[in-house]
Symmetry: C2
Subunit: 292 residues, 2 copies
């Protein structure tokens, strides 16, 4: 090594891991684990271990490995802590974003290309990832029982028979969940829509001022005000999700959100999908050169 040379910039896998850490450090993030709050059965340090454990899978994505394989590896590593699911949804967003960097085009169309190019083998990796950790999910769309993600690896033969790619799986999850047009899973919609909300939130983080963890908390609150949180809807119903979204829209500052943060933790209302989007936006912001 030459003395005094500039260190290499953080690669995309390192930035993805750092995005996971910055996300959980951002406070207040009402209802979520953050720098100042644990949940009853999920603690801050379990997110630290989850992020560290995910790194090898993220490195595989950065090296160009298939999305499903990189994702399963990341989830397996993330699960090596006693808290259960810490960052499954974050990784579902981060892995294709890291792959887009590896392909030289971190943009809505670049990541959409990565997602559309996924295969049946990628879908199998995604299903196998559910074997490593319990994930809170809604019932599968109609006609998709054989492909219920809760079946894990048992669903792989059905995937192969139907030639279902990972993009197909997530497209189905992104569909409206009822005749009223209630949107489907917010993470799946990012896959289908070229990470529209992720890139918009990343722009806001880059344009914002102050410590990055404060920007992360503001981005979280803005995303929460923008759309119903999928995890809140899955766990507490549509009315609770709408209430959280409306309350988030009233928040005017981080200080203003402090009391509400404690209230949501007490009620067990956890807008985890919005935290996933925040981590993805932090990753894009880091790749755009925002400094820590």
């Amino acid at each position: 090594m030459s003395g005094g040379s500039e260190p290499p910039r953080r690669g995309p896998a390192a930035n993805a891991e750092l995005a996971l850490l910055l996300e959980v450090a951002g406070t207040p993030k009402p209802g979520n684990v953050d720098r100042h709050r644990d949940l009853v059965d999920l603690r801050f340090e379990q997110f630290l271990a989850g992020a560290v454990g995910a790194r090898p899978g993220l490195e595989r994505a950065a090296a160009g490995a298939p999305v499903g394989e990189a994702f399963e590896t990341a989830v397996a590593g993330m699960s090596e802590q006693s808290g259960g699911n810490t960052q499954f949804g974050c990784l579902l967003l981060l892995v294709p974003l890291v792959r887009a960097v590896a392909a030289g085009d971190l943009s809505p169309s670049g990541v959409r290309d990565v997602c559309e190019a996924t295969t049946v083998a990628d879908a199998a990796g995604f299903y196998r990832a559910f074997e490593h950790v319990d994930v809170a999910v809604a019932d599968p769309p109609e006609g998709m029982d054989a492909l219920d993600v809760r079946r894990g690896a048992d669903a792989v033969p059905a995937l192969r028979e139907r030639e279902t790619t990972l993009f197909d799986v997530l497209s189905a999850s992104a569909e409206p969940v009822d005749d009223a047009g209630t949107p489907g899973d917010a993470n799946a919609r990012e896959w289908v829509e070229g990470f529209r909300r992720t890139f918009r939130a990343a722009e806001a983080i880059v344009a914002d001022d102050g410590p990055l963890v404060d920007r992360a908390a503001r981005a979280f609150l803005d995303l929460l005000a923008e759309a119903d949180d999928t995890l809140v809807r899955t766990q507490h119903g549509a009315e609770a999700a709408a209430e959280v979204r409306e309350r988030a829209a009233e928040v005017e500052s981080l200080a203003d959100a402090e009391a509400w943060a404690a209230e949501l933790v007490d009620r067990g209302v956890n807008p985890g999908t919005t935290a996933d989007l925040t981590a993805a936006a932090l990753f894009v912001a880091l790749e755009r050169g925002v400094t820590v």
Copy 2:
């Protein structure tokens, strides 16, 4: 990948990075950045970025690279954040510990073997590491001006001429700093003494109960009560270091240490060397199987 297989356990580089993260998350750690406190010019998220950035150097150590090269790489990566020196001292302890794991013997004699086997090239890597970041250090021992670490790479010819290994450098720093026998640098003493305090603190962490970050904070307070902190002595003098040690010995619980933590931060008294030892002890405890 096979479905549902057990994930590989975290390797030593991942455990070393996690130890850095758990150390900074432990609270209260009076005078240091922790989950609840930033310093004026050094923030929590800069420690997160420092830990993430150090990983490639830690991976090199785990793969058996020379100590000096692995250390310089880790420090270069750690420095890719805007806060300056976050974990230089931690890495000086972690790199030989990771190498000891790689050599199959994480014990006082195993790590002492790693340290004693260091070469002049390792010393050169150590000096080059000072080019990446400003580190608060004391004046060099008498007759060692040519080897003042603040000279960075400029000291390398003198190292070569005198055939000074990294173990020689740290042995000199470990020597008493005056005729009264005031102990030398605490991290250097770990190198010379087979990481005596590190292994003892690790045993205490393993035997302790409760969340690992609370155990980390208790280990920090016990280490602080045990000996003067080198960084406090360098920055504020021997009297301040003795006062901190004596006050730490009076602490009876984490709650008891909260007010003192705020006071030390306000006074700018930062027992950073004790934090280094805490990170090293957390690493050994993780390698011994303590769970997060």
